[in-house]
């Protein structure tokens, strides 16, 4: 694992409320690196979130809205935030009451670092 990826993942996973953080190969849908919470499957999370990101990216491009920057899914039990610009995307699964502003800030930094 490169230093950039390792330090990016380390910062993300230490934000309060973050359960899991992953760097994912968007095309292949496989995890490049991950810090996973208890019971989480990195393979499943990577495959699902990469598919979600690719499909939404294609839809917004078809709709002439430009490229997809980030995708935030709010559910009854938490949040899934996916962001990226190139082949690597950053995925964070966070608790429902997590500080989303802080998480998004760290994700923006992570995306920039991975460019």
């Amino acid at each position: 694992m490169s230093d950039v990826v390792a330090s990016t993942l380390d910062r993300l996973s230490h934000v309060p409320g973050v359960r899991s953080a992953l760097i994912v190969d968007a095309e292949a849908g496989v995890p490049v690196a991950s810090e996973l919470g208890t019971g989480a499957s990195g393979t499943a999370v990577a495959a699902l979130t990469a598919s979600l990101f690719r499909r939404t990216d294609q839809a917004v491009r078809d709709a002439a809205l430009g490229g997809l920057g980030s995708f935030q899914l709010e559910t009854e039990e938490g949040h899934v935030v996916v962001a990226g610009r190139r082949e690597l995307i950053v995925v964070v699964i966070a608790d429902r009451d997590a500080q989303l502003g802080l998480i998004r800030l760290e994700i923006d930094r992570a995306v920039e670092a991975l460019q």
Binding site: V45, L48, D62, G67, S70, Q72, T75, E76, I93
Partner: protein, 339 residues
């Protein structure tokens, strides 16, 4: 929730389709590609499969869905029309055609297809809601007709809604097969969705639509109270496939409703699937940031969705608050419809 096909299934279908492009396996393979986001590949497979199996109802329905996701509603409507000819009671075909015509302001055809869809599946909430919208429009048109006649006397022509050929839902036409006559040579006005057509700034004196503030809720204006805030681009009430029921989105003088609807359907479907598979509870909202806009999508009751579009760079907190207000306006609109 049903799990998707495995690698072995995909390989088997691929081999069967490679041997015979018209093999029934083109359907699950194309559907799998569509779900994986490989829409162009799914389109090619479907077109090739239908060349060999032109009578495949499911093939035409899948092709319609692919075109819809690609934002090509004309071609989607063509495929629904073919499906309706092959299977005259097909719910999906009549539902798709009903929404297609409704969005174009072709109320007579919309009514015909939506009624047939309702006959095929009486409990479908989106179809019932669309019929409510249609009936409200008819009631307004009738009231406006009476008003115009009273004002102008016997010389006034019978007013018709924009893009409407017959001006009313023709119940007696239910037995007729789906036709493409009204869309063969559409007028420029008819090419606009109903919601956008109602936003034309210049109105002719003969236009029977109620004026702003006339006390009658226009589906295009449901979210108008939000329009005073600067980042707001528009909002839509959609069915789960992204077909527009109310609201409008215009950006840079251009209509964006259909394009945004095409984004929402796949995004919401994937979001629900992801939330379920990750076991993190039901989804409550999606925030999508693109190079040009900030979109928020939230589920409403009865499989409906509310989309709010704002300018790029809009604070997320504003978008979330506005999405809540848009949800309230949508619920109010649905309640007023007497559904």
């Amino acid at each position: 929730m049903r799990n998707g096909p495995g690698t072995a299934d995909l390989q088997r279908w691929s081999e069967e389709v490679a041997r015979d492009p018209g093999s029934p396996s083109f359907l699950p393979l194309a559907e799998a590609y569509r779900r994986m986001g490989k829409t162009e590949a799914a389109l090619r497979l479907c077109l090739r499969g239908l060349e060999r199996s032109p009578g495949s109802v499911d093939g035409h329905l899948l092709l319609a869905r692919i075109y819809l996701e690609l934002g090509d509603r004309e071609r989607a409507a063509d495929e629904w029309a073919v499906t309706a000819r092959l299977d005259p009671d097909n719910f999906d075909a009549h539902r798709g055609l009903g929404f297609f015509h409704l969005e174009r302001g072709e109320y007579s055809s919309a009514g015909r297809h939506l009624e047939r869809a309702a006959l095929a599946r009486p409990g479908d909430p989106a179809v019932q809601e669309a019929l409510s919208v249609l009936r409200r429009h008819q009631a307004r048109s009738s009231a406006a007709s009476r008003g115009a006649a009273a004002t102008n006397g016997a010389r006034s022509p019978e007013p018709t809604p924009p893009g409407t050929q017959n001006g009313a839902v023709a119940g007696s036409a239910l037995a007729q097969p789906a036709d493409r006559a009204e869309t063969a040579t559409p007028s420029a006005a008819a090419l606009q969705p109903a919601a956008e057509a109602a936003e034309e700034p210049e109105r002719s004196p003969a236009d029977a639509r109620p004026a702003r503030g006339a006390g009658v809720r226009d589906p295009a204006r449901v979210f108008e109270p939000l329009s005073t805030e600067a980042p707001f681009i528009g909002a839509l009430l959609l069915d789960e496939r992204g077909l527009v029921l109310a609201g409008s989105v215009r950006e840079g003088g251009m209509t964006r409703s259909e394009a945004l609807g095409a984004v929402v359907g796949p995004a919401a479907e994937e979001a629900a699937r992801t939330a379920a598979l990750l076991s993190i509870g039901a989804w409550r909202g999606i925030l999508i940031e693109t190079d040009r806009a900030l979109l928020h999508v939230a589920p409403l009751e009865r499989d409906l969705l509310v989309l709010v579009a704002a300018e790029r760079g809009t604070p997320v907190g504003w978008a979330l608050r506005t999405a809540e207000r848009a949800g309230d306006l949508a619920r109010q609109f649905l309640a007023e419809g007497g559904a």
